[in-house]
Amino acid sequence: MPFREVPHTADWALQVWASDLPGLFREAALGMNALAGMQLSEGPRLSRSFHTESPDAESLLVVFLTELIYYAEQEHLGFDQFAIRFEETPNVMRFQVEMSGAPLERINKVIKAVTYHNLAIRSSEDGLNVTIVFDV
């Protein structure tokens, strides 16, 4: 899997990697679902879309994952398929996602928040990687 939990004394940290930015966001979402022990029901699929903008990709990542936490907590929905698009201008990055998912069958853990702690999307020969710390 292109994500793994890394040790953190009190909270959760997730390292994610992918070849490009849409892939990184998708794997971050799937990694967060896995950490929370999320299982989707086998009922009818449903979709949601979401868009936002920010000066940098790290902020977009926090906002995107926070949106998923909200859906899980308030609407008991989880998503496992993402069509993600970015549009970049000199001062702003725009993010748009079409998400497909289903009502939650179960979720084991509450994620309180996605933090900015040492959050930096880095490039390497293999693509992009990021470590995200969640407050739990």
Partner: protein
């Protein structure tokens, strides 16, 4: 961090001087034994404390408590005071669970007499106090009602019949922070709050029934209504999704505020704004509203716990089954207080993240009966281990902005705890030791295993030796309710 960088002040006090890093505005003071310090140096707690010293407007020191552990941005178990009104307020230095805290209720029921009913009591507490992932509360409030909760805190609960007048008097800030601004709380946060008020949630939150095992200060214990051998109840929780959303919203919006105010920080999670700026004022108003929500939340859970005690004990015990409030404290909060710093009286915003207010004797903010003994401080231990009741001291006022530790403090990651401990086995072990356990999630139980935490007795011995709290009573768990 290499401990050679630290200056030893005494056996229990250490300093990271400003010379350690160019961007430090104040030194770091650490209250810890050598043994605890070595434990702390294994994670990023001290580096995070050094990062916290870069916040503009800091006075004195950034304080590190003996239960400190690595957090995100600001260490858990840290205290920092920024001068009011030009200094900054930092949402991340208060935390996502705004006004996470602990309430202690005392009963007149001797444990030995109640023993046959403990299983029933645990089941009733689990039934009456909603817990677990996504749990909904004991009441559902309308939009309009929520505005009252956010402004009035525990006073809303009093008006609705969920509280006694003594509960309010014996709550930090009387259960209501003034100048709360519900209009600065997002609709999304309010939506989360409406469904969750009066619920425990999951994670490290719990309700615990304890037996008062040992008394160290007869006068203080008697003033608080704590009698050796009797049952007491702790309720540990905070502002639920509403508080999480408030912090999330402002950490996000402050990302641009720091640029507007030309503030450079080593970690984006420490983002902040001057208290006298529109952004700072908006956050303070929203944070206070979330804190009031948490006061009301613990009050509703206390109401539910009282129902459980009545049903379990009222028939068998003519007297003593009623739970009286000892105190309710917060350990994630930013508050405007006045402290004497280097000989002058200074109005500051004290950021306590995983640290408890511990006002000493004579403080006018305390209820009259506690003014001679100091503020009660409740220190929950890790699951299955002791908890402590302490009081604040003159030294806590002089040396730590009227603050002390808040718990045991983690030493092991959740991932490692889950690998090393099986929830079912842990539950069996606790039950074997006479502790009734009701938990919604076995992996969640494993994450909170006692071996994942420091020894709370060592932490308490340290704050006691330093003088920033005094021991009153030690509690032993007999029933645990977790989400």
């Amino acid at each position: 961090m290499n401990l050679n960088h630290l200056i030893k002040i005494s056996d229990y006090e250490w300093e990271i001087p400003r010379s350690y890093r160019k961007d430090m505005r104040v030194p770091v003071r650490i209250f810890a034994s050598r043994e605890l310090l070595e434990q702390v140096s294994e994670d990023k707690s001290l580096e995070q404390a050094v990062n916290a010293t870069t916040l503009p407007g800091l006075v004195g020191y950034v304080i590190v408590m003996p239960d400190v552990h690595q957090g995100y941005g600001f260490p858990i178990g840290g205290v920092a005071a920024t001068e009011y009104p030009h200094g900054v307020v930092s949402p991340g230095a208060i935390g996502y669970d705004i006004n996470c805290g602990v309430r202690l209720l005392a009963s007149g029921i001797p444990y030995e007499a109640a023993k046959p009913k403990m299983d029933t009591l645990a089941t009733l507490l689990y039934k009456y106090c909603p817990s677990g992932v996504g749990s909904e509360g004991v009441v559902r409030v309308s939009k309009e009602e929520l505005e009252h909760v956010l402004r009035q805190g525990s006073h809303w609960a009093l008006k609705k019949g969920y509280a006694a007048a003594d509960d309010i008097r014996r709550t930090e800030e009387n259960g209501r922070l003034a100048e709360a601004a519900p209009e600065q709380v997002s609709e999304r946060a309010k939506q989360r709050g409406r469904e969750q008020i009066g619920s425990l949630g999951a994670g490290n939150h719990f309700i615990e029934v304890d037996v008062i095992e040992e008394i160290f200060d007869e006068q203080a214990a008697s003033t608080m209504g704590l009698v050796q051998g009797n049952l007491a109840v702790q309720i540990h929780c905070g502002s639920r999704g509403l508080g999480h959303q408030v912090c999330t919203d402002y950490v996000q919006s402050f990302q641009s505020a720091v640029k507007r105010y030309g503030i450079e920080l080593p970690d984006r999670e420490l983002v902040c704004a001057p208290m006298d700026s529109p952004e700072g004022q908006a956050y303070l108003g929203a944070m206070r509203a979330a804190a009031n929500f948490a006061f009301a939340n613990r009050q509703l859970l206390a109401y539910a716990a009282r129902q459980a005690f009545e049903e379990a004990f009222a028939q068998n015990f003519k007297h003593g089954w009623q739970l009286t409030q000892v105190y309710d404290i917060t350990h994630n909060m930013g508050k405007i207080e006045t402290h004497v710093i280097e000989g002058r009286s200074v109005k500051v915003c004290v950021h306590r993240k995983g640290a408890t207010r511990a006002f000493g004797p004579g403080t006018p903010e305390l209820p009259e009966e506690y003014r001679s003994i100091g503020q009660p401080v409740i220190i929950p231990g890790s699951m299955g281990t002791a908890s402590w009741v302490l009081v604040g001291t003159a030294d806590s006022m002089a040396r730590s902005f009227g603050s002390t530790c808040h718990g045991a403090g983690r030493v092991m990651s959740r991932a490692k705890a889950k690998k090393e401990v099986r929830g079912e086995l842990l539950r069996n072990e606790l039950e074997h030791r006479g502790i009734a356990v009701r938990a919604g999630s076995m992996p969640g139980l494993a994450e909170e295993a006692p071996q994942a935490y420091k020894d709370v007795d060592v932490v308490v011995e340290t704050v006691s030796a330093v003088g920033i709290a005094r021991k009153v009573a030690r509690l032993r768990p007999v029933a645990i309710i977790k989400g």
